[in-house]
């Protein structure tokens, strides 16, 4: 018998409840970002949306992959890939903490019977040139959420700032269901038959096989090659953007023949960022594989950071160069862009 709740929510129910809660408070619900990410923060819906002046509210589940954290499915508390529910509130409302506490109620946690504390925990990602101030939220001694007020992103001060709430869904589910292993969490319950599908049923094979891949099987040489390719492409784009921003007309065909804001607006910085995210994940695999030496490590992190920070700066520039409405400033004579030629490989 579970003393926490007589009839606890399954993982998917609590996810749905949280999403509904935030949707009802004006958040855009996004599907998970469809590339490998180390954390919900890296999704463009956070990393790029927190830049610039536009208010925004979004919530999404983000499967977050951390190759080095894999444990072949043998550790009851550690996962290669875990689920984060990420909420961005830009700017944060004054009662953001109260809102957050209400969201716990939505999951069936009655705070009158629990102990909740906000303990200092600041967050920093040198790779993203980002940091923030905040807390880890402790419920009966369990860290259930990271609460961060972003201060900088891509090396730039933010205005307005954003509040980021990151719920650790597996932990919360294990807490609600009072099980000692994440793999015993009920992912879903069939309302007709009452039969449940466990977390382990859904994910154990993935944990095992991806641990094997990340720690043993990943081909180091090819992974490096992938890294280099993605990096080169991202960098190339970034360089083109910077020429464009400087108004250099002698450069690549990507500008079309127009000039000014309209051309900038269609420049695929989002693609450059996706390529950068690929690099970040590949770096994590190489790291888990033990393939990065001390001397290399700092350098590789700096390479990913250069991309992320460069893209963030370019993105801000691109946002600021947006015409107020789509009718103005759009040069009519732009020809279709020549597809981006693969860089020489």
């Amino acid at each position: 018998m579970n003393p926490a709740r007589p009839n606890p929510l399954t993982l998917q129910e609590l996810t749905l409840r949280l999403q509904t809660f935030w949707a009802e408070r004006g958040c855009v619900l996004q599907p998970p970002f469809d590339l490998e990410l180390g954390a919900g923060t890296m999704a463009p819906e956070t990393f790029l949306r927190v830049l610039g002046p536009q208010p925004y509210k979004v919530a999404y589940v983000q499967p977050s992959r951390r190759p080095a954290d894999g444990r072949y499915g043998e550790n009851p508390n550690r996962l290669y890939k875990h689920l984060q529910l990420q909420v961005i509130l830009k700017p944060p409302p004054e009662d953001v903490q109260e809102l957050y506490l209400h969201s716990l109620g939505a999951m069936g946690i009655d705070l009158a019977h629990h102990d909740i504390k906000f303990e200092e925990d600041n967050w920093e990602s040198p790779t993203l040139g980002a940091w923030g101030i905040g807390w880890q939220v402790m419920l009966d001694g369990l860290e259930i959420t990271q609460f961060t007020y972003f201060q900088q992103c891509g090396g730039m001060d933010l205005s307005p700032i954003s509040a980021e709430l990151t719920y650790g869904l597996e932990r919360i589910a294990a807490f609600l269901e009072d099980v000692d292993s994440i793999y015993d969490v009920n992912w879903a319950r069939d309302p007709l038959s009452g039969r449940t599908v466990k977390y382990g049923d859904v994910r154990l094979a993935e944990e095992l096989q991806l641990s094997v891949y990340n720690f043993e099987a990943a081909d180091v040489e090819k992974t490096w090659k992938h890294f280099d390719l993605y990096e080169a492409e991202s960098k190339e784009l970034l360089e083109q953007y910077s020429l464009l921003a400087k108004g250099d007309k002698s450069s690549r065909p990507l500008h079309g023949q127009g000039s000014g804001k309209g051309v900038r607006r269609r420049f695929p910085l989002l693609a450059a960022y996706e390529l950068c995210l690929k690099c970040s994940h590949l770096f994590n695999i190489l790291d888990a594989r033990g393939a990065i030496s001390v001397t290399e490590r700092v350098g590789v992190i700096a390479r990913v950071r250069a991309l992320a920070v460069g893209i963030a700066k370019a993105w801000v520039d691109q946002q600021l160069s947006q015409p107020e409405s789509s009718e103005e400033g759009e040069p009519a004579e732009i020809k279709p862009v020549v597809p981006l030629s693969p860089v020489a490989y």
């Binding site: 003393p3 926490a4 550790n75 009851p76 508390n77 550690r78 944060p92 004054e94 903490q97 506490l101 705070l111 009158a112 019977h113 629990h114 102990d115 909740i116 504390k117 906000f118 303990e119 200092e120 600041n122 101030i133 807390w135 419920l139 009966d140 001694g141 369990l142 007020y149 201060q151 001060d157 205005s159 307005p160 700032i161 807490f175 009072d178 000692d180 033990g290 990065i292 030496s293 001390v294 490590r297 700092v298």
Partner: protein
């Protein structure tokens, strides 16, 4: 005389910052009231919790006292013509707000002037506070702050409400977009929402208590009582006192209570260090022990709520602790799959510092340095086992590759020691040797603070100082020495550790030797190419350690500052020797002979300094043939005689007897100053007398610079 209250309501302030900020705020308000001539009737009081900093000043004057001021106007000759006021006088009278007839005349050194006596009305206290408080709030010092509206508005966390009152009246202020009111907020869960503060002072405290918020003093008491009470549920048990932890939980709660939880007895097989670290550092639980000091399978958790009637909170905490302990056990078992010896080469992949290479590089350097230092110790008669140190140094950093240390970084060193205890390090190694190696690894980071003991064995002391010296040497050579409040690598703490370890183990090795060899150990390495500060290295190290030694002697040993200065002026290289000298000087300080010597030496220093400043010649050597007076002959005779005896004792480091010898020079010195004039017209005679004094100073300042000693009569 209204009572004044300011409450800054915020989101949760980091526990570690609350006490400091509360103190800073109290000082600021105290200074503000003093500066504005609004001194309160009694002491200021403060009340802090995670969500508020409150300050209370009883009986503040309603307004500043009025001040009578004299304004000086034009000169009388300009102000009056033929006894009639001129336009200048009229303008001045108007400015002063008086009729011309009320103007006075004053005499000044420049002549007679027209003056006006005016009363400047004191400003009202609410006006002053309204204006000044926002600035004071903004200036509170935080180790780390943030912005949430504009980058120029900073505080530790967002400010959400402000209460500023004089008795029951609101003082209007604004900070961070929040306007003051008489509405405060209570405990997040137990008293959600706002409550009205009836008035500053006791009514505020009372209302706050009603809203389930206690002051810091009451919270500490409540927690202590709760710990006692919960511990009584376990037979013959006591909770482990832990002041830093207590301070933390006091500042994490507004309405604390304590629950007792338990964990499976089988976890007691894990080392106590691991269990306690998990409980204290990660969960903020107090540990419970039996009468013999052995850990019991229980813990005490501090809640920020009224209690746990259903046991839900206990259940949750037990579940978390079980997971943490399971993790620790899992890591412990996983780590055993690879021995520490295997892990040595893994250190190539762990960065020590980006320019100083990997921990593998560091391991090799420290091993080399240890063997050199062992050689010096042995030559100087200290028994030490170099083989033990060599092996310990080799394995010392390998625990950085273990899962347990990756999870619980604060256990570095300790985990290595624990693993070495249970692993086969060498097939033929006697068990006692292995235990010693394990202990040396375990102790390598000691002392970590002023209260932490130094390594137990001399072998541990050697590894500890060599490891720290390697870091300091590398960082100084890179030019990354600590400056001001910036010391990101905690080099000062590490240097303090070296000083204390050398002192307490009485290691016969000088700092100069240690750091020359530390530098030597980098020779030929890739790191050396990055050394930007090669030239100033010796000087920088020397200055840095002189300060550390001074700190240790004053703060740790509590020695008088003049003794410390006197002794360090005679050399700061050999820690053990410095302390022996300080000990001897401390004993004779204040005796009549040394008071007199110290006064005389100060005088000599002044004479010599003035002579140098005015370009007077000082003979390089004393010429005894040039003495004229009896007293100078006497001093000239005594100096070499006594100096020889002093030197003999000094060589044997028998400083008590050396100082006793020095004291015998006093009659000759006194006699000299009674009878002999130094700064005479005769240039040769003067040059010789100056030479005599210079010799005296030089010969007798090798143990301490006595001129630094503050003589009894002049001491505070």
């Amino acid at each position: 005389m209204p009572d004044f209250l300011l409450e800054i309501g915020t989101e949760e302030i980091p526990a570690r910052m609350i006490a400091g900020a509360a103190d800073d705020l109290r000082r600021r308000i105290e200074n503000l009231l003093e500066r504005e001539r609004l001194r309160p009737a009694g002491e200021l009081a403060h009340l802090d919790s995670p969500r508020r900093l409150s300050i209370f000043a009883p009986g503040v004057p309603a307004a500043q006292p009025d001040v009578s001021e004299q304004l000086t106007g034009p000169s009388v000759s300009v102000a009056f013509r033929d006894g009639q006021p001129t336009p200048a006088a009229l303008a001045f009278a108007k400015k002063a707000g008086l009729g011309v007839s009320l103007l006075e005349r004053v005499s000044t050194p420049k002549g007679e002037y027209v003056a006006a006596r005016v009363i400047r009305k004191g400003r009202r206290v609410e006006e002053i506070l309204s204006e000044a408080l926002p600035k004071e709030i903004a200036s509170i010092y935080w180790p780390k702050n943030m912005y949430w509206r504009k980058p120029s508005e900073r505080f530790v966390r967002p400010v959400r409400w402000l209460v500023a009152m004089l008795d029951d009246q609101i003082v209007p202020i604004e900070f961070g977009g929040v306007r003051s009111s008489n509405e405060s907020r209570g405990h997040r869960i137990l008293a959600a929402g706002r409550f009205r503060v009836p008035a500053a002072g006791a009514p505020y405290i009372h209302a706050l208590r009603g809203a389930k918020v206690l002051g810091q003093v009451e919270r500490e008491q409540q927690i202590r009582n709760g710990l006692d009470k919960a511990t009584r549920e376990v037979e013959a048990a006591r909770w482990r006192e832990d002041k830093p932890l207590l301070d933390t939980v006091v500042n994490l709660t507004e309405w604390p209570s304590v629950i007792l939880g338990s964990f499976d007895r089988e976890f007691l097989e894990l080392p106590e260090e691991v269990l306690v670290t998990v409980m204290r550092d990660h969960q903020k639980y107090f540990a419970i022990e039996d009468a013999k000091g052995r850990l019991l399978p229980n813990f005490l958790a501090i809640l920020n709520t009224e209690g746990d009637p259903q046991g839900l909170i206990r259940h949750g905490n037990e579940r978390v602790l079980r997971a943490r302990f399971n993790d620790a056990r899992f890591f412990w078992q996983t780590d055993q799959k690879h021995s520490l010896r295997e892990r040595v080469s893994w250190l190539k992949n762990v960065t020590f510092q980006k320019d100083l290479g990997s921990y593998y590089d560091k391991t090799r350097r420290v091993q080399r340095l240890c063997s050199w230092i062992c050689e010096i110790l042995r030559q100087n008669g200290t028994a030490v086992r170099p083989g033990v140190i060599h092996k310990a140094a080799c394995l010392a950093k390998t625990d950085l590759t273990t899962e347990l240390v990756k999870e619980f970084t604060e256990l570095q060193g300790i985990v290595g020691g624990l693993y070495a205890q249970v692993q086969v390090l060498d097939r033929d190694m006697p068990d006692t040797t292995r235990q010693l190696i394990a202990q040396v690894i375990y102790d390598q980071y000691k002392p970590e603070s002023a209260n932490d003991p130094v390594p137990r064995a001399v072998e541990g002391a050697v590894l500890s100082i060599c490891d720290k010296a390697d870091t300091i040497a590398g960082m100084f050579a890179l030019g990354l020495e600590p400056t001001g409040s910036k010391d990101p690598f905690a080099l000062r703490r590490q240097a303090n550790g070296i000083v204390r370890t050398v002192a307490e183990h009485k290691l016969p090795v000088s700092l100069g030797q240690l750091f020359e060899l530390s530098r030597e150990s980098y020779r030929g390495s890739a790191a050396e190419k990055k050394f930007a500060n090669a030239r100033n290295y010796d000087q920088a190290i020397e200055g840095f350690f002189r300060e550390r030694l001074q700190f240790y002697m004053r703060e740790h040993l509590g020695l008088a500052y003049d003794v410390v200065n006197a002794v360090l002026a005679a050399g700061a290289d050999d820690v053990v020797d410095v302390l022996a000298r300080a000990d001897a000087v401390g004993t004779v300080r204040g005796t009549a002979d040394f008071d007199s010597i110290s006064v005389a030496f100060k005088r000599i220093k002044n004479i010599l300094r003035q002579a140098k400043e005015t370009g007077r010649r000082i003979r390089p050597l004393v010429d005894p043939g040039a003495f004229r007076e009896e007293a100078e002959q006497e001093l000239g005779r005594k100096i070499p005689e006594i100096a020889t005896a002093v030197d003999a004792f000094r060589q044997q480091r028998d400083y008590a007897r050396a100082l006793a010898e020095i004291s015998t020079i006093r009659p000759a010195v006194d006699g000299f100053f009674d009878k002999v004039m130094v700064m005479v017209e005769d240039e040769d005679l003067r040059a010789n007398r100056l030479a005599l004094l210079a010799t005296l100073l030089k010969e007798f300042s090798t143990i301490a610079d006595f001129s630094e000693i503050v003589a009894e009569g002049t001491r505070n």
